[in-house]
Symmetry: C2
Subunit: 323 residues, 2 copies
């Protein structure tokens, strides 16, 4: 018997958790990420919360896994993120090894989410899944035969930056017409604000969920209103589902995985997103190429990446035991 | 020392060949496929040519691999093709086992081409390739870590039927705006004929290569004229490259393979296709997601699927030796 440590470092929240060697969650410490604190603040948090959990663990803790909410160079086990100060090329796995004296493995949150759902969530028992996270941005991860496929530049799964329209708007990535510009949380919040500006009477529910302020409308508010049947919000989610279907049909054509699993905040809209998405995929598809890839919602919700970090630690602990 | 048998069954040509156990080609028997002959004619040909090669082999022949130019159910080792009479659900691998008394494995031509280039061609020494065949239609195959990824319904790699345009024409698959409608051999021949109708003076070279008849213009004639610098033909190939770039950028985003390898008749256009393709992919891509996946032409040309069939036989022979 042993336990493992798992960390999920995100732009708005972070988590440090203790799991047992069967992947059962024992304890989670959560906090809000300080944007101004930068890397050093975060490392302080990770160090102190980890020590707290290590002290309380009934069994020896053998390894640590990390999900990082930004680009990761998997081969070098380094963060590659530019958007939070101080993280660029930071060897986070080595820092854990030196600070906590634990073997550690690191991946980005989309790949970790994919691995988490594959091992412990909606992908249990399948041979391959594509996991898509619909959040502020859009990310994706691919698990084939139990392993994350990272690709040559650790860029596999980047479904958010596939051009799905010839006439799209500019994307943060520098491209144009990317899927992310149509159905990320950012895009959905923007649509909600547009509606609230032009037709405030139709946006009453979304506005109420946003404290009455147009500029506070979030994708979460739109998703919640849609789940409750608000017609403007349903319209926005359905438009997203139209584009999402184009993106996911590409996944079916190229990879034909056993399952496609949708996670992230926008997926919390639930059936109001899933039903039109499945219908649009069916309409786009062709009668001569029938496929049985299923599209489902993530089961672990906010915790997919944390469970994925756990799966990474269990691999690491197993390899450590062998060598 | 032993030898193996390889077959490549295509809509216009078929090949039966003898390879040695290092994958060296010893002898190839080729013929034109009789469209009217159907399945039984083809089986007669395969039987007699195979026996000819088995008789002449200096070493025992241990296994047989087949590339089939149409849909294959890999798990069941059956043909799934509907477009040539008599093949539907035919257990071709079992037929070889019973007729030639050789263990046999079967795959479709795109997957076989991918495996052939991976083991013996442009993909040698890489960890993963995506192979795309630009022929009458468009097919694709994915090799990851030495294995073809078939997907849940043996449909992985079907890049020809990804919608790349919102306003495209109807595709043979029943979809709309599929990549295949823009840059398959069929699409290229059609563009050539349109030009020759509307502006015969600009199509002189392509017409000459087609015996002076508009209705005989083929993709091969357009590709040859383009390779020789004919400006109308170059324009058609460049337009294809525009759409191809959209399709291949999806492969880069989702799979980020070590290499993308282009095979099939249209790829014979060579640099006149490859140069604008690489340029368009660069333009479509984003500065914040730099990738190092290379795009190259197939090295084995017409023989990629035959070499892939050989790779399949070598796997089969190795498994037979183990068990």
């Amino acid at each position: 018997m042993h336990n493992v440590l798992a960390m999920d470092i995100g732009g708005s929240r972070f988590r440090v958790a203790l799991f047992d060697d069967a992947g059962r969650r024992l304890e989670v410490l959560e906090g809000e990420t300080s944007r101004s604190g930068g890397r050093d603040w975060m490392l302080d948090q990770l160090r102190s919360r980890s020590r707290e959990l290590l002290d309380r663990s009934d069994y020896p803790v053998k390894a640590c896994g990390i999900s990082f909410g930004g680009p990761v160079d998997f081969e070098r086990q380094q963060v590659r993120s530019l958007h939070v100060q101080g993280w660029e090329n930071f060897a986070l796995a080595r820092w854990v090894q030196e600070t906590l004296n634990l073997p550690c493995r690191l991946d980005n949150d989309a790949n970790a989410g994919a691995l988490g759902e594959y091992r412990f969530g909606a992908g249990r028992g399948t041979g391959s899944i594509f996991y898509m996270t619909l959040s502020t941005g859009i990310g994706g991860g691919l698990v084939l035969g139990g392993k994350v496929h990272h690709g040559r530049d650790s860029l596999a799964g980047e479904i958010g930056h596939i051009p799905v329209s010839e006439s799209g708007v500019a994307c943060v990535c520098g491209g144009r017409g990317c899927l992310e510009t149509f159905c990320s949380g950012t895009a959905i919040a923007l649509r909600g604000r547009e509606w609230a500006h032009r037709r405030p009477e139709s946006a009453a529910r979304v506005l109420k969920l946003s404290g009455g302020k147009v500029e506070n409308i979030s994708a979460r508010a739109v998703a919640e209103a849609a789940a409750a049947g608000d017609s403007m919000a349903v319209g926005i989610i359905q438009e997203s589902a139209h584009w999402l279907a184009r993106g996911l049909l590409m996944v079916v054509r190229l990879l034909n995985p056993d399952k496609i699993v949708l996670g992230g905040g926008v997926a919390r809209a639930g059936r109001v997103l899933l039903d039109p998405l499945r219908k649009n995929m069916e309409e786009l598809s062709s009668p001569t190429l029938p496929y049985s890839t299923e599209v489902e919602l993530a089961e672990l919700e906010n915790y997919s990446p944390l469970y994925g970090a756990t799966a990474l630690t269990l691999e690491t602990a197993a390899e450590g035991a062998k060598s």
